[in-house]
Symmetry: C2
């Protein structure tokens, strides 16, 4: 179960494309003003993502102006915009000053029939033309299918190969509808990896809760770029979350991840975007969820106190966070209770801690209790002489 060294080495070369300012704008609660976009872009740049993707300049006048101004900020991260695979859209993208253009067109039979009505030959002919147009202006260009996992693999491979030959720097595999699972993603991306030499980007939705794992499987199979958004905001219930995906990479190679990303700024970035999008950081959010480093069960607490890595694969300190041991409930154990006594400078032997633990459990069986209740029980017991006196 030791991570594959090849996978570890590659964490360093993986590129993150954060699309909070494009996919995130498609989240029902999101409406970003220009100042908000600048703040998010600067946050993301400081955090360490490699690319920042913005809404198409043809979506609205403000979308165009915002893109022009953010592309001119001189961020370290490259600014991309995401447009339909059409010459008009591509020209607007080129004129915006963006450093790269992400082209997308539906390739599933459903989208070909109900969205644009084109067959694969038409898609290919237009794609080649638009890719050549963007590339001729010296910009990075990506060509992506939409709904790749409900497209014919043979069609996709043919399109990707033609896109590469036409000058695309990157092809995109997109789970637009959240239908894919990690083994399927691994298979498809590995097949694409064997077909083209250019970079491969993965974009995955979270309809069945697999967006982070799918992105990781794509990375393991050879994807060079992964799309994320802050908290995963996007169409419907969203996409791969930046924080969760970085946590997944951290487990593979914490040093590489710490060297590349400003992990301690993650919580503030997430809170900022949550406020703008009108949502709460989910209670179960990896890393920054309110209880992500709270340990409760007695047997967990015991081992945690001896060695935190027993129940933690992420060091909260690396994310600017702290762990906590929750002692005030009926599942508590005497090691955790003795530890809490120590924090209050109350010395307890094992027997005393065991007795007090039974009292805490008895009280917690009657009503919800807080750490204050536990502290009061500890102080009472000490004062009454039921357990050894406090020492300093």
């Amino acid at each position: 179960m030791i991570p594959n060294p090849l996978v570890r080495a590659r964490v360093d070369s993986l590129r993150l494309i954060d699309t909070t300012l494009r996919e995130g704008e498609q989240f029902a609660g999101a409406c970003f003003a220009f100042e908000d976009k600048v703040e998010i872009a600067r946050h993301l740049d400081a955090f360490g993502v490699d690319y920042i993707e913005l809404t198409s300049p043809v979506s609205s006048s403000q979308s165009r102006r915002d893109l022009e101004r953010i592309a001119a900020l001189g961020l370290r991260a490259k600014v991309l915009t995401h447009v339909r695979c059409r010459a008009d859209d591509a020209r607007a993208a080129i004129e915006s000053g963006a450093q790269g253009v992400d082209l997308v067109i539906g390739t599933s039979s459903l989208l070909r029939r109900f969205s644009h009505g084109k067959d694969i030959e038409q898609i290919l002919a237009e794609a080649v033309e638009v890719i050549q147009l963007v590339a001729s202006h010296g910009l990075e260009v990506r060509f992506s299918g939409e709904d790749s996992f409900r497209s014919e693999l043979a069609d996709l491979l043919w399109l990707y190969r033609a896109a590469e030959v036409a000058g695309a720097h990157r092809v995109g595999v997109a789970d637009t509808v959240g239908v894919a699972d990690p083994l399927t993603v691994f298979d498809v991306v590995r097949t694409v990896r064997g077909t083209v030499r250019c970079d491969i980007e993965f974009h995955g939705h979270n309809d069945t809760g697999c967006a982070v794992a799918n992105a990781f499987a794509a990375f393991q199979a050879g994807a060079t770029h992964v799309d994320t958004s802050v908290l995963g905001i996007g169409e419907r219930n969203g996409i791969t979350s930046l924080g969760a995906f970085v946590a997944r990479l951290y487990v593979v190679d914490s040093e590489a991840v710490r060297g590349r990303y400003d992990l301690a700024s993650l919580r503030e970035l997430e809170r900022y975007v949550a406020r703008l999008a009108g949502v709460e950081v989910p209670f179960n959010n990896p890393v920054t969820g309110p209880c992500a480093f709270t340990h409760r069960a007695g047997i967990h607490a015991k081992a945690m106190l001896a060695e935190p890595s027993t129940y933690e694969v992420l060091d909260p300190g690396h994310f600017g966070l702290e762990r906590s041991i929750d002692v005030a409930h009926r599942l508590t154990g005497w090691n955790a209770v003795r530890h809490r006594a120590g924090q209050l400078a109350i010395a307890l032997d094992e027997q005393g801690a065991r007795e007090l633990t039974l009292r805490i459990k008895a009280l917690a069986d009657v009503r919800a209790i807080s750490e204050d209740d536990v502290d009061a029980l500890l102080r009472d017991a000490t004062a009454s002489g039921a357990v050894p006196e406090a020492v300093r």
Copy 2:
């Protein structure tokens, strides 16, 4: 990309062990009274899970009494309790009236050193004794390692084989710390599948956001039982979410899933548990998150209106929910605007819809707008004769 027929057939034979009443109690916000537990157990039973796991009877007096009473309710689902792999704990479990006992002991070197201090030989000897004790009382017995993915695979396989020979009906593979990824889970579970004939259970934490995908990979590799909790509540940021995992299975075989689970009751079950645990249903929750079926981008809305499966792999109607097309924002498109006009019995031709769409985008560029704003623009335009009059 057609689902493997063998995998599809197996959805019907998979067993869900819901542990909201054990793992869920380890979530920092949870404190369930007896009446709460009964309500949750009845909800889960009606939803269709196969097993309901409760906290160890040795945790507290109330835990014991609640277990006894819930085991006596006569639910369709089997009632399990989860105890340390010790004879005393197992005897309390046997006396409780539970129909099965889930035994657990730490098998990673970290837990062996910092939790219980036993080596693999001691673990094996005790496990055999405790398994035989439980099995001799005619109860279902599961033996699980803790932190399986940081244990030596050879140790695990040796323990699992010995557990099976001793009479265990099921062995458990547990990602206690959320370190595993789906490919690793697939590998390990497939290896276990080749080693024992008994059932295999998977339990996975969500520290890096992969708990749903890991459980699905375990299922694909041959696991017969998967642990879930409502909304995924559990230690730290929790485990595999029942609703998300069922959504994942639905994508593989919607008919089997609809036949086995009362999908329309999921939202109420999640809301009930969320209220008790003091949390909100996450904005990004699969299926029941507030925007899980909200479609925004113009190109999405256009195809959705023609054929919903273009951007939906879950039919909201099967979950007692409805989709919505969000038309009031700068990413909207004329097909969505014309559709909204139709709902208001305002007839718009393409040209009229395109003009109004530009006006909606222009307004949305200035401030956040609502559907009321869109409706007002539609009605104004009609009244002023800028577009064809309303017809009935």
